[in-house]
């Protein structure tokens, strides 16, 4: 009811109402963004019920993740942006410190050290870095003259690659990759020159063999199988082949909710987590896939609007950077499921089963809402 009331308010805004604030405004929540997030989350739960082979417990677990993440979003939305700006160097320093601690005493999980046991739930410092790195860069460029010069870029590289490196040696290639993407997004909005981007690409191309050799064997195989999945139809290429079969066999309207054979008969691996989009495409078809894409586009557009009306460079860079990271995560995941991008182990934001990345994503939205809902009377 509140939402409807709010929408009515928005459209029937009269000068006399200007002083009156809606409940959402009081709570510092952006209705459009919240609506988009809620739709996506419900869509995710809906498909997770099917993807988990109708295990209600899995869905309830995910609801718990969502509630916790929503709480984080709500709390973060209450904090005015200038506080974030003040705290940014501190958060970054703590994050970096914890990354090092994790490397030393980290709880061993899934063959990689990434968890830090913190009482009731495990905490992943690398997840914090997904936020801290864009914040740190935004903080840095808020003080600097734009576009960045070479010194700025050198410092930015340090801000990005130190935590990325620490994450990568855990080893958590996926998260390190997201950290780099997140940092890169901020740099992109900071006005980094296109030719410089070109230069980085060239350097990457040259460095590729070195990176290749530093990769874990399973990561190398992933890239090789991405190039040619058929080389190992029952080995590493199995994921991609089965995922493409799931997507392709969906057709326009899909096989129907709960009727996907690829996931229910276990041909599709990781169908609740990284490959959940394949379940959507199989059961809901192109139709459902487009709806999902539209929800992502809507959320991204709203967030870009928030960035557009941001009041200072810090707000603008941070919000746009976080938004682009969110968008790219979705893009990379779907691209991976469709077999156009390598399997890098990225979840589909807010849809894939799992609490860790969900909390981070919702936290980012909390920051975005904080930025949008704490307007100062004047612009900087």
């Amino acid at each position: 009811m509140n939402l409807i009331y709010f929408i009515q308010q928005k459209f029937q805004k009269r000068p006399s109402d200007r002083q009156r604030r809606t409940l959402l405004q009081v709570l510092h929540l952006d209705a459009w963004l919240l609506g988009g997030i809620a739709t996506l989350a419900f869509f995710g739960l809906f498909i997770l019920y099917s993807a988990s082979n109708q295990q209600l417990s899995v869905v309830l677990q995910q609801v718990a993740h969502l509630m916790f993440a929503a709480l984080v979003l709500f709390i973060l939305a209450q904090i005015p942006p200038h506080i974030y700006r003040q705290w940014t160097p501190g958060i970054f320093a703590i994050g970096l410190f914890m990354l090092i601690v994790v490397l030393i005493v980290g709880h061993v999980g899934k063959g990689a050290q990434r968890w830090l046991p913190l009482g009731i739930f495990n905490f992943q410092p690398s997840e914090l870095m997904k936020l801290a790195v864009p914040m740190m860069l935004s903080w840095y460029y808020a003080e600097r003259r734009l576009p960045p010069n070479m010194t700025d870029l050198a410092i930015s590289a340090g801000i990005i690659f130190v935590p990325a490196f620490l994450t990568a040696i855990e080893p958590d290639f996926g998260t390190a990759f997201v950290i780099i993407v997140g940092g890169g997004c901020v740099l992109l909005f900071a006005g980094i020159r296109w030719r410089f981007i070109l230069l980085v690409f060239l350097l990457l191309l040259i460095a590729a063999p070195i990176i290749w050799h530093s990769l874990h064997a399973y990561q190398q195989i992933r890239i090789l199988t991405f190039i040619n999945p058929e080389r190992a139809p029952l080995g590493a290429g199995y994921h991609i082949i089965q995922s493409k079969i799931a997507v392709g066999s969906g057709g326009f309207f899909g096989k129907g909710w709960l009727k996907g054979t690829q996931s229910h008969l276990h041909f599709l691996p990781e169908h609740s987590t990284d490959f959940i989009f394949a379940v959507i495409a199989e059961e809901l078809g192109l139709f459902g896939s487009i709806i999902l894409l539209m929800i992502y586009v809507f959320i991204t557009a709203r967030c870009f609007y928030i960035a557009y009306v941001g009041q200072d460079t810090y707000e603008r860079l941070l919000s746009s950077g976080l938004t682009l990271t969110f968008f790219l995560s979705a893009f990379l995941n779907i691209g991976m499921v469709c077999g156009v991008l390598p399997v890098v182990g990225l979840p589909l934001p807010l849809v894939s089963y799992g609490g860790t990345s969900m909390v981070t994503t919702m936290a980012a939205f909390g920051i975005l809402m904080a930025i949008h809902m704490h307007k100062k009377l004047w612009e900087k």
Binding site: L146, V247, G248, S249, S289, I290, L317, G335
Partner: protein, 603 residues
């Protein structure tokens, strides 16, 4: 840091940022567009392809092989049946470390090098996901030992399988034939879907000729499986249709009598029911055990059979080509009478030799001193060569070939097994072409006593004898008595009247009368006296063109073959028989035993 760098142009930065934001926003829309295109490509354009793959993922077709039809003789005696055996099969695709597993397996179950060799060969011929038999006929102990170790050998299965068994063994090998593993040539010829799950196919004899009827129709089970290959449920079941059971015209008891009568001789016995053309006996000696071939004969066993100089694998009844000798005389005599070259009363004097008119060529009668005055009846009874030399000379090769062709020599009889050979009725053109020499009158003369280039099979001679018994009715010989399809009534095979030879009844009478006296007054005295009437003709086919002295010790291989053709009883013939014994003169004795058993038991 230098002071000037910190001077910020806020408006400029804001404008620059907004420009970037719009650019990147457009970029994001392009990326979404790319995803959209990819999705349309996979889900619309390639939908059918992926749908098929998805179905293939979950739906498995499991063939249900049909039961092979059972073969009985005319009285219901089983000649070929199916027995259950356990065999070890491998699906190479599912086996991990095939070589290692094989090694490990050999410590549990003995696997002979021959089995391994066969397995390696099959491995090359089949696809990786096909079942390949490794060892057939596991003992109960071996089945149990494998069962407890099963988990160690993924891709290896014990399979209960029906295999062919021939309870009467060698006696019927040349009629029934045998089945064996499907080889690569046969794989090209058969409808592979109908043979899914079947390892065996008829190789020779009845098993081959009636393969389509015996095999039946494969059934299918459509099952849904999960990624691990576990069966979730059966979606559809299409039962197989068992192969038809065949009843042969063969009288197995009579055939066994013939087998025993032949004893260790090399030879053939063919007996036909003249009124129908049903083949009662089709025996060829020596023979082999068809059961050896079913599960794949070992190389050594095969070599032994192959190199045996008695040629046990050789089906003499339909593939053995022999000079008919004097058994050809009744047919020539018929043509002589029919063309009025001789009259029944006409006599010639036989001094023991015959000189071809206007030449120096002299041909000797088998009887030194000759038969004296001989008419056509006496010529048949005593098998007078001189008389027939003269008759042949007068008839000419054209008429001789004509009559032999009418009686079915030099042609397929049309019996329902594939191995038949046609033999040869020589013509001047044939001789020119294959021997490279012109036709001499001497060749014609020798044809009349079944020598020269005439070659017939025992079956052809049996059919011709049945034709004599029928007085001209030629019935196609056949082995399939009746066929029983599942859920269908027994379908009986009807006799096929191929042709009717129109000779004067008196001409038949003369020849048949003469033949009926052969065992009593003539050359067939070895046959002895019988309580039933019998029309017969003996024959001696020379293997080399020289005659031996009475007391000469002739090497086995050079001894003449002996023929005996007969039908009995003379007036209402129940059986026509042709017996051949190689390098021996026991054909009449063999024939006697067979006829006695058949006629006296029945009477």
């Amino acid at each position: 840091m230098k002071q000037k760098l910190t001077i910020k142009n806020t408006t400029q930065e804001k404008r620059c940022f907004k420009y970037r934001l719009v650019t990147i926003g457009v970029g994001a829309i392009i990326l979404i567009g790319l995803l959209f295109i990819r999705l349309v490509y996979l889900q619309i354009d390639q939908h059918y392809y992926y749908q098929t793959l998805s179905d293939k993922n979950k739906i498995d077709l499991v063939p249900i092989p049909p039961r092979r039809g059972i073969i009985y003789d005319r009285h219901g005696e089983i000649l070929a049946k199916n027995i259950a055996v356990f065999s070890l099969v491998v699906i190479p695709d599912r086996a991990k470390h095939l070589k290692k597993s094989l090694e490990a397996l050999r410590t549990i179950i003995p696997i002979s090098p021959a089995d391994l060799e066969e397995f390696d060969e099959q491995l090359k011929e089949h696809r990786r996901f096909d079942e390949i038999p490794l060892k057939i006929e596991l003992s109960d102990k071996e089945v149990a030992r494998f069962a407890i170790n099963r988990y160690r050998f993924p891709g290896f299965f014990v399979k209960a399988e029906l295999i062919r068994n021939y309870p009467l063994g060698q006696a019927f090998a040349h009629v029934v034939g045998y089945v064996g593993r499907i080889n690569i040539v046969e794989l090209d010829q058969i409808d592979t879907s109908n043979y899914a799950g079947t390892n065996f196919i008829g190789k020779v004899g009845i098993e081959k000729y009636y393969e389509p009827q015996l095999h039946g129709k494969v059934g299918y089970k459509k099952i849904e499986t999960d990624a691990a290959g576990h069966i979730i449920r059966t979606l559809e079941m299409n039962s197989s249709e068992s192969g038809s059971d065949l009843y042969l015209t063969i009288d197995s008891k009579l055939q066994l009598v013939a087998e025993q009568a032949l004893g260790d001789e090399r030879g053939a016995v063919v007996a036909i029911q003249p009124s129908t053309g049903q083949v009662l006996v089709l025996a060829s000696k020596p023979s082999y055990d068809p059961n050896l071939f079913v599960t794949g004969i070992s190389n050594q066993d095969y070599q032994t059979l192959q190199n045996n100089e008695a040629h046990p694998l050789f089906n003499r009844t339909v593939r053995g080509l022999y000079a008919p000798g004097s058994t050809i005389k009744p047919f020539i005599a018929l043509e002589g009478l029919n063309s009025q070259v001789v009259t029944p009363a006409e006599k010639i004097f036989d001094p023991g030799w015959y000189r071809v008119p206007n030449t120096e060529h002299v041909f000797h009668d088998w009887k030194k001193g000759g038969h004296g005055w001989v008419n056509i009846s006496k010529a048949i009874i005593e098998s007078c060569d001189t008389f027939f030399f003269n008759l042949a000379y007068q008839l000419g090769i054209g008429r001789i070939d004509y009559i032999l062709d009418l009686f079915g020599f030099g042609k397929m009889t049309g019996i329902d097994i594939n191995e038949e050979l046609v033999g040869n009725i020589p013509t001047p053109e044939w001789k020119m072409r294959y021997v490279g020499l012109p036709w001499y009158t001497g060749d014609t003369v020798l044809c009349a006593i079944g020598q020269s280039y005439v070659q017939v099979t025992p079956l052809q001679l049996a059919v011709a004898t049945a034709t004599l018994a029928n007085r001209g009715e030629i019935l196609t010989p056949y082995l399939l008595y009746a066929l029983k399809r599942t859920h269908h009534p027994v379908a009986k095979q009807l006799p096929i009247l191929k042709d009717k030879l129109l000779f004067d009844q008196s001409e038949w009478d003369i020849v048949v009368k003469a033949m009926s006296l052969v065992t009593r007054l003539g050359t067939g005295y070895h046959f002895g006296r019988t309580s039933y009437t019998v029309a017969a003709k003996t024959g001696t086919a020379q293997v080399v063109s020289r005659r031996f002295k009475e007391d000469e010790n002739v090497p086995y291989k050079l001894r003449p073959d002996s023929w005996f053709i007969a039908f009995a009883p003379v007036n209402h013939p129940k059986i026509a028989i042709a017996v051949l014994t190689e390098h021996s003169d026991s054909a009449p004795i063999v024939a006697r035993k067979v006829l006695d058993y058949y006629l006296l038991k029945e009477m």
